[in-house]
């Protein structure tokens, strides 16, 4: 399988790999996917008092496209409000990375990871009840 140069770039030099400290303030975590499907994404966001995502980190178990998709969204969510972050769509991710059809599910998973992280943040901060995010893993 041939990967686009953008996927290769994110794969070789992933942005924002890591984990925030457990005690860090304003941190929320979204974990989506399942090992049996071949992809697990963990996206963490750090939200400041104004409700703006000021930092993001990820860890991903998955193919190059999954790693690239999660790396890309850590860049994209930074500086966005939670609601703005929720407007990021998988089609944009897929387009940016030139994902082939068989890898579209990676971009879907990345979108789901954003939703899960935002939902986690809102749940922690009492804005709404923790809602399970329906994800579309194992479609690949």
């Amino acid at each position: 399988m041939s990967y686009s140069t953008k996927v290769l770039d994110h794969y070789e030099n992933p942005r924002n790999v890591g984990t925030f400290g457990k005690e860090d303030e304003g941190v929320a975590t979204g974990m989506v996917g399942a090992p049996a499907c071949g992809d697990v994404m963990k996206l963490q966001i750090k939200v400041n008092k104004d409700g703006v995502i000021e930092d993001a980190k990820f860890k991903t178990y998955g193919c190059g496209s999954a790693i690239a998709s999660s790396s890309l969204v850590t860049e994209w969510v930074k500086g966005k409000t939670l609601d703005e972050a929720l407007t990021i769509k998988n089609t944009q991710i897929a387009e940016e990375l030139a994902l082939p059809p068989v890898k579209i599910h990676c971009s879907v998973l990345a979108e789901d990871a954003i939703k899960a992280a935002v939902a986690d943040y809102k749940a922690r901060h009492g804005e709404m009840q923790g809602e399970m995010v329906e994800t579309a893993a194992c479609k690949g």
Binding site: G38, A66, V102, C138
Partner: protein, 403 residues
Amino acid sequence: MIKTPIYLDYSATTPVDPRVAEVMIPYLTEKFGNPASRSHEFGWEAEKAVEQAREQVAALVNADPKEIIWTSGATESNNLAIKGAAHFYKAKGKHLVTMMTEHKAVIDTMRHLESEGYEVTYLKPEPSGLVDIEKFKAALRPDTILASVMLVNNEIGVIQDIAALGEICRAQGIIFHVDAAQATGKVAIDLAKLKVDLMSFSAHKTYGPKGIGALYVQRKPRVRLEAQMHGGGHERGLRSGTLATHQIAGMGEAFRIAREEMAAENERVRSLRDRLYKGLSQIEEVHVNGDMEQRVPHNLNISFNFVEGESLIMAIRDLAVSSGSACTSASLEPSYVLRALGRSDELAHSSIRFTIGRFTTEEEIDYAIELLKNKIGRLREMSPLWDMFKEGVDLSTVKWASH
């Protein structure tokens, strides 16, 4: 300086040995006759080469040259053996036995026969990849006409006890077919002793050319087949089509070399494999797939836990290796062979097959070990599963969001 990518995929295919290429080329150029041409020197010369190669192939497996039929490769041999025998003996019964870990050429052919009304039992191997003799015995029925078990598995390299299986089949009058595509040059084969009726061979897994293979069809006791390819009546009517002299001559030479050099070569290759195994054992959470004792010397199949298979392949692009078998690696399905062994999908996905060969060097093995240590480390750094494992979380108890 190491030249990359390093080829560690000798079970997918091998380069043609230079000595083999040298034998082949004259039959492409000046000795180009059609071996079926009986009216001139060009034809006789080609026919002579074909018969000499037949002797060379027979010699490696201690068979009579008359028992060797040329085909276009092991896939065709498997098709001809299984369909040919099943069709010929259908009046005797319509049940066949094989294993879940056979090559696709056998599995798909069995499926084809099922669509024609035959019944097939697919035996599950033990977690070691080996067949349990008692379970094999139990699968045989009065209407079983054929059993097919590969000598060496293409993915995990385990060697089945075909001597014992052959005895069982012979005692019950069941035709025994063995796919030996991965075995030639690695395992000694003595067809004068083995109770094997049909055996498939391939040239390109043993430093011969692609597009040529053979089928051993035992004469005493005689096994009958219904031909699958018809025409000019070549190969005593069992397989029609102009014989590809250069490919046949190449296969003969490749098998001659295998016979003369396999003992020494296997020792060398085994020491390289063991070196690789020792090096990779230093990495945490690696699991060998398949029995380590009953195994060909050039194969190492390892799963790297908590690392996803495709990203692993991408990370080690400097190594030409397989994840799953070459024939199925275009799909995202985990290897059916590893699943039959009871491996989880995750471990099946993160498995790598290393197959070492005639031209592999110690430097290449050392390079591969270092590369893997680095890359596995890096991918695990990135893996949330590795974190959880390190924190002591039992991943099997986690409720994943998607399920």
